[in-house]
C-alpha cells in the first residue's frame, strides 16, 4: 500500500533529522521526501511517500506523531487529494529524434526550459505515475535520444475540497 503522509512540523533546527532518523531507526522506507516552510514561518510542511501494509502505515503515523516537534500527520491517500511532482529531464537528441522528443513533451504537456543544439531540458509536472510514464516514453521512443540526467522533487500534495491540514 502506498501512502502519502503530510506532516506539519515545527520549523526548528534538527526537526527534519528526527523524522529521517525515525525512519532509519525503525526500518521504515522513505520513497520520497519534500520539505519547506509554510505561509506560517514557524511551521514546515513535509510530504513523505512510503509503503507498507495497513498496520505498518498506522505505526509509522503514530511514531511520527510521537516526535515532539511533529504537530500534525495525515495520510493523504485516505481521502481525495491532489498530488504533484516536478521532473526535470535532460535529453540528448539529434536529427529526427529532436522532433520526436519535442512531440512527446507536448503530449505530456511538458515544457522545454532549456535547449542546445544537442539537448533538450524538459520540465514536467504531475502525479508520479505520469512522470514515470514520460521517462519511459523517452526511453522507448526508438529514436536516437538518450536520457542524460533526471531530477525529481518528490511528491507534494494536499487534500481536495474542504480538507485542510493546519494547526
Amino acid at each position: 500500500m502506498r501512502s502519502i503522509l503530510a506532516v506539519l512540523l515545527e520549523n526548528e533546527a534538527g526537526a527534519l533529522s528526527r523524522v529521517v532518523g525515525l525512519f532509519a531507526q525503525r526500518n521504515y522506507n522513505i520513497e520520497s521526501l519534500t520539505v519547506a516552510p509554510t505561509e506560517d514561518p514557524t511551521l514546515s510542511r513535509l510530504t513523505l511517500t512510503t509503503s507498507g501494509d495497513e498496520n505498518k502505515i498506522t505505526q509509522i503515523r503514530k511514531q511520527l506523531d510521537k516526535l515532539v516537534e511533529v504537530v500534525r500527520v495525515v495520510d493523504l491517500c485516505e481521502s481525495p487529494h491532489v498530488e504533484r511532482e516536478l521532473l526535470l529531464i535532460k535529453v540528448s537528441a539529434q536529427g529526427d529524434a529532436r522532433q520526436e522528443v519535442k512531440r512527446s513533451a507536448d503530449i505530456f504537456r511538458g515544457q522545454i526550459v532549456d535547449v542546445t543544439a544537442q539537448t533538450y531540458t524538459i520540465q514536467l509536472v504531475g502525479p508520479s505515475a505520469k512522470l514515470d510514464a514520460f521517462v519511459k516514453a523517452v526511453e522507448d521512443s526508438g529514436v536516437d535520444a538518450t536520457i542524460l540526467e533526471v531530477v525529481r522533487t518528490g511528491v507534494s500534495g494536499l487534500g481536495r475540497g474542504d480538507h485542510v491540514l493546519s494547526l
Binding site: 533529522s17 505505526q59 510521537k66 515532539v68 516537534e69 504537530v71 494547526l167
Partner: protein, 588 residues
C-alpha cells in the same frame, strides 16, 4: 526587577526552581562554567561519580524509586558518549531523566574541536527529546520544557546540550523561570475514553478466565491503588511483567508472579488459557509474548497504555484504552463498582462459580510446577542462587529496595523476592544493561536515605561499574551488595548449555576473578564471603545487622555454577511452551 544571571547560573537556578535535589555528574572543560555555578550555591547537591555511565544509572535509580526525574550533568565529547548507555537504559524503560551535557562553544561546533561530539545527533534514537541551547537567554525556557517533556505522557530521558559560551559568566540576562509550558506539538494523552472503559467493565464482569497483565506503566503512573481495588473486587489473577513487579503485592495469593520468558508456570499458562487479558501499562514485549502469532488464542485483549504507538504494535487489541493509567484505572474502578452493583444475584453467582473453576485450574498449575519458595540449605552442597535470594527476602522482611544487574541473578531476584510495593524493584528491563545494579542502588539510596537498599548482582555485571564503590564511600551509601558469584556469565553460559552443545565461548573467567572480599575492603567497605550453604543465613544476617547499618557490605556468595533459570520459554512457541528443568533432571 528580574535578577541578572549568567547562562551557567540561570541553568542551575532553573534546576533549583524545578525542585531538583541532586545532580549526578562528572566535570570537564565544556561544563566548567556550570560547575562553578554549582559551587556558588547550596540548594542542590552534586554527586561526583567515577564514570558518567554510573551518573545516568544513579539518576535512573533515583527516578524509579522516588518518581521524580533524575538529573545528570556531564561534559562534552567522552563525557557525553559515556552517558549514552544510561540514557538508552532510561529510554527503554520510560524513566524520566534530564541529561545536561556540556558542548564546545558555538563558534567551534562542527570543526572537530577538542572533546567535541554531536551529542544531539548521537543521542537522538534513545531520547524522548533533545535541545541544543542556541542562545543563553532561552536557558530557563529550555529547562522548563525539558522537565515537562521528560515527566509527562510516556516519560523518558531528555538531553539539553549546552555550548560552553552560552554559560559564560561575563554575560548576564534577566532571569525568570516560566510558570507553565505550552507546546502546541506535544499534547500527551491523559484522560481516556469512558465508553471504552465501560466496555472493559462489561468484559471483566462476564469473563470466565480473566488475567490482569500488569506492566511498569502502572508503577510509573502511581496507579497501584485502583489496580489493587479492581483485582480484589473481581478476584482475578495478576501476572506481572518484569517491570510491573510490586504494582500488585507479590506475596498476595492472587499474584501469579512474573510472566514471560522466565515467568512462573502458572502465570504463563494462565495467560495462554485466559478468555480476557487486561494489559495494563504493558507493551507485549517479545520477552513476554513469545511468538505473537500464538499469543493467548482465546482471549479478548484489552490494552491500556499512555502511548498510542504501543497499542496494536505487536498484538491487536479488542478494546484500546489510551490514557494515563491512574486516570483510566480510577475511572475503571468507579465504573466497575457501579455496574457490579446493578448485577442480579444470578449473574453474580454465575461468575463466582466461573472464578472458582479458574482458581482451581491455577492452583493445579501452581502445585504441579510452581516455584518452591521454601528451599532449604543442604549440608555439603553448594549454595543455590535461588536460596540466596530467598534468604535475602527473609532477612530484609521483604521490605528492601532491590536493584539488579542483568542475567541469571536478575531473573532469580525477580522470581524469588516478592515485592509488595511499587518502586521497590529496580532493574534494566528493556535494554538489559549490565553494570546498572550498583549505580542504580546508589541513586535509590540517595532518594531514600533511611531505606534498606540491596543490589543483587553477579560478578560479571558488578565488574562493569565497580569503580563506583569509591563514590559509595565518599557519600556514605550503606548499600548491601549480594553478589551471586557463579564465576561465569551465567545467562550466556545457560544459553550455550541449552543451544550450543555446552560450548562456553567466552563466558568463563574463573581463573582471573578478584577476591571480592578484599576488593570491597580496599575501597573502605565491609567484605563477607560465603560458599557453604549452611553459613548463608549467618552471612546474610550479619550483612544486614545493626553493626553495619551505616556501612556498605559486599556479600560474595559463591553459588552453584551449574544452575539454570527455569521455567524458560521455548523459542517460537506460545506462552504455554516452557522448559521446566534441565533435561537430565526431568528424566530422573
Amino acid at each position: 526587577m528580574a535578577e541578572m544571571l549568567s547562562g551557567g547560573d540561570m541553568l542551575i537556578r532553573a534546576l533549583q526552581d524545578e525542585g531538583v535535589e541532586y545532580i549526578f555528574g562528572y566535570p570537564g572543560g565544556s561544563a566548567l562554567h556550570i560547575y562553578d555555578a554549582i559551587f556558588r550555591q547550596q540548594k542542590i547537591e552534586h554527586i561526583l561519580v567515577r564514570h558518567e555511565q554510573a551518573a545516568t544509572h544513579m539518576a535512573d535509580g533515583y527516578a524509579r524509586s522516588t518518581g521524580d526525574p533524575g538529573v545528570v550533568l556531564v561534559t562534552s565529547g567522552p563525557g557525553a558518549t559515556n552517558a549514552i548507555t544510561g540514557i538508552a537504559t532510561a529510554y527503554m524503560d520510560s524513566i524520566p531523566m534530564v541529561v545536561i551535557s556540556g558542548q564546545v562553544p558555538r563558534d567551534l561546533i562542527g570543526t572537530d574541536a577538542f572533546q567535541e561530539t554531536d551529542m544531539v545527533g548521537i543521542s537522538r534514537p534513545v531520547v524522548k527529546h533533545s535541545f541544543m541551547v542556541r542562545d543563553a537567554a532561552e536557558i530557563p525556557a529550555v529547562v522548563k520544557k525539558a522537565f515537562h517533556i521528560a515527566t509527562t505522557g510516556r516519560p523518558g530521558p531528555v538531553v539539553i546540550d549546552v555550548p560552553k559560551d552560552t554559560t559564560d559568566p561575563s554575560a548576564t540576562y534577566a532571569y525568570e523561570y516560566p510558570s507553565e509550558v505550552n507546546l502546541r506539538s506535544y499534547k500527551p494523552a491523559f484522560a481516556g475514553d469512558r465508553t471504552q472503559v465501560n466496555r472493559v467493565v462489561q468484559a471483566l464482569l462476564s469473563a470466565k478466565r480473566p488475567v490482569f497483565y500488569v506492566g511498569g506503566g502502572v508503577i510509573q503512573a502511581d496507579a497501584e491503588e485502583p489496580l489493587r481495588a479492581l483485582v480484589k473486587a473481581s478476584r482475578g489473577p495478576v501476572a506481572s511483567t518484569l517491570m510491573g513487579l510490586g504494582a500488585y503485592p507479590g506475596s498476595d495469593e492472587q499474584s501469579l508472579g512474573m510472566l514471560g520468558m522466565h515467568g512462573t508456570y502458572e502465570a504463563n499458562m494462565a495467560m495462554h488459557e485466559a478468555d480476557l487479558i487486561l494489559a495494563l501499562g504493558a507493551r507485549f514485549d517479545d520477552r513476554v509474548t513469545n511468538d505473537p502469532n500464538k499469543f493467548s488464542p482465546k482471549a479478548t485483549i484489552v490494552h491500556l497504555d499512555v502511548d498510542p504507538a504501543s497499542v496494536d504494535k505487536i498484538i491487536s487489541s479488542d478494546i484500546a484504552l489510551v490514557g494515563d493509567a491512574q486516570w483510566v484505572l480510577n475511572t475503571f474502578w468507579e465504573a466497575y463498582q457501579e455496574q457490579e452493583s446493578l448485577r442480579d444475584d444470578a449473574a453474580r453467582q454465575k461468575q463466582q462459580q466461573d472464578m472458582e473453576q479458574w482458581w482451581q485450574q491455577i492452583a493445579q498449575w501452581r502445585s504441579a510446577h510452581g516455584l518452591n519458595h521454601n528451599l532449604e540449605p543442604k549440608k555439603d552442597q553448594s549454595i543455590l542462587p535461588q536460596l540466596a535470594v530467598q534468604t535475602l527476602y527473609r532477612v530484609t522482611e521483604g521490605e528492601a529496595f532491590v536493584t539488579s544487574d542483568v542475567g541469571q541473578h536478575q531473573m532469580f531476584a525477580a522470581q524469588y523476592y516478592h515485592f509488595d510495593e511499587p518502586r521497590r524493584w529496580i532493574n534494566s528491563g528493556g535494554l538489559g544493561t549490565m553494570g546498572f545494579g550498583l549505580p542504580s542502588a546508589m541513586g535509590v539510596q540517595m532518594g531514600n536515605p533511611d531505606a534498606v537498599v540491596a543490589c543483587v548482582t553477579g560478578e560479571g555485571s558488578f565488574m562493569m561499574n565497580m569503580q563506583e564503590l569509591s563514590t559509595c564511600l565518599q557519600y556514605g551509601l550503606p548499600i548491601k551488595i549480594i553478589n551471586l558469584n557463579n564465576q561465569a556469565l551465567g545467562m550466556v553460559k545457560q544459553w550455550q548449555d541449552m543451544q550450543y552443545g555446552g560450548r562456553h565461548s567466552q563466558s568463563t573467567y574463573s581463573d582471573s576473578l578478584p577476591d571480592f572480599k578484599t576488593l570491597a575492603e580496599a575501597f573502605g567497605h565491609v567484605g563477607i564471603r560465603v560458599s557453604d550453604a549452611m553459613e548463608l543465613d549467618a552471612a546474610m544476617e550479619e550483612a544486614f545487622s545493626e553493626k553495619y547499618k551505616n556501612r556498605l557490605v559486599f556479600v560474595d556468595v559463591w553459588v552453584d555454577p551449574h544452575e539454570h533459570v527455569y521455567p524458560m520459554a521455548i523459542k517460537g512457541g506460545a506462552m504455554s511452551d516452557m522448559i521446566l528443568s534441565k533435561p537430565q533432571e526431568a528424566a530422573s
